[in-house]
Symmetry: C2
Subunit: 146 residues, 2 copies
């Protein structure tokens, strides 16, 4: 039986960030997950939808189904690699920057941009119901053509 070349070796620095990331969170580095991680994390922070990521993967000659893209985005989110940003009732956005920060949302172009956390100050919070804690504070500045 023929020996198969190691997974996507031509595309991937050995132990590059994508592979490391998957190892770290305990997700098997399958061809699809590696390719998606590479698209997501190699380079600047990104705000992406499943549809867009799927398109990029296909363009990069990575055979992956949209269903797998959705599943992968959720696995990455559960693993803490991504953060889901709820700004648009039509579709889900995922942010590769999971440090604390906020967002600018262009309502026309439906595009997200980061705002440093330090640009926003929360003075106080109303009393939380008994036994509840803050899981996250999202600030969304919605912008549109003047």
């Amino acid at each position: 039986m023929a020996r198969i070349a190691p997974l996507a070796s031509s595309n991937l620095r050995p132990y590059g960030p994508a592979l490391e990331r998957l190892r770290t969170v305990g997700l098997r580095p399958t061809r699809q997950r590696l390719a998606l991680a590479k698209l997501l994390f190699d380079g600047a922070d990104r705000h992406i939808t499943a549809e867009i990521l799927h398109g990029e993967a296909l363009r990069a000659r990575v055979r992956v189904s949209l269903a797998t893209v959705y599943n992968t985005l959720h696995q990455f989110t559960d693993a803490g690699l991504l953060r889901e940003i709820v700004v648009d009732s039509e579709r889900s956005y995922f942010d590769t920057n999971n440090s604390n920060h906020h967002h600018l949302f262009d309502e026309g172009a439906r595009r997200l941009h980061d705002i440093p956390e330090t640009d926003v100050r929360l003075d106080s919070l109303p009393p939380l119901p008994e036994g509840m804690e803050v899981s996250r504070v999202d600030v969304i500045v919605r912008i549109r053509k003047a």
Copy 2:
């Protein structure tokens, strides 16, 4: 042909808030819109989904379809009577309080609560792209069981 009693007269103070509101924004006061407006605006501020409002209408013996509830919520939103709050990718919430304020979102119960605007201070904004303006700033404090 029998004379029909005036619209929902038994349920409605003449020129009550619901009717007035519809008149003000130029929406015909149909039976359905009046009933929905009454459910929405008589009483305290509310955060509601189409499904819930539809349920309440049926329980109040108002015959109205879910499609009409959706359409009406959007008409009310376009007219400035409601504000749509995007917090949950699964469903849309509408807020009867359209003054400036922010929200607490209970991720477990999927329930929204108001936060006074004064509890939040935005120090600065990043430079907006040329020709863009802020349409709205949403602050969402997500809470969960501790």
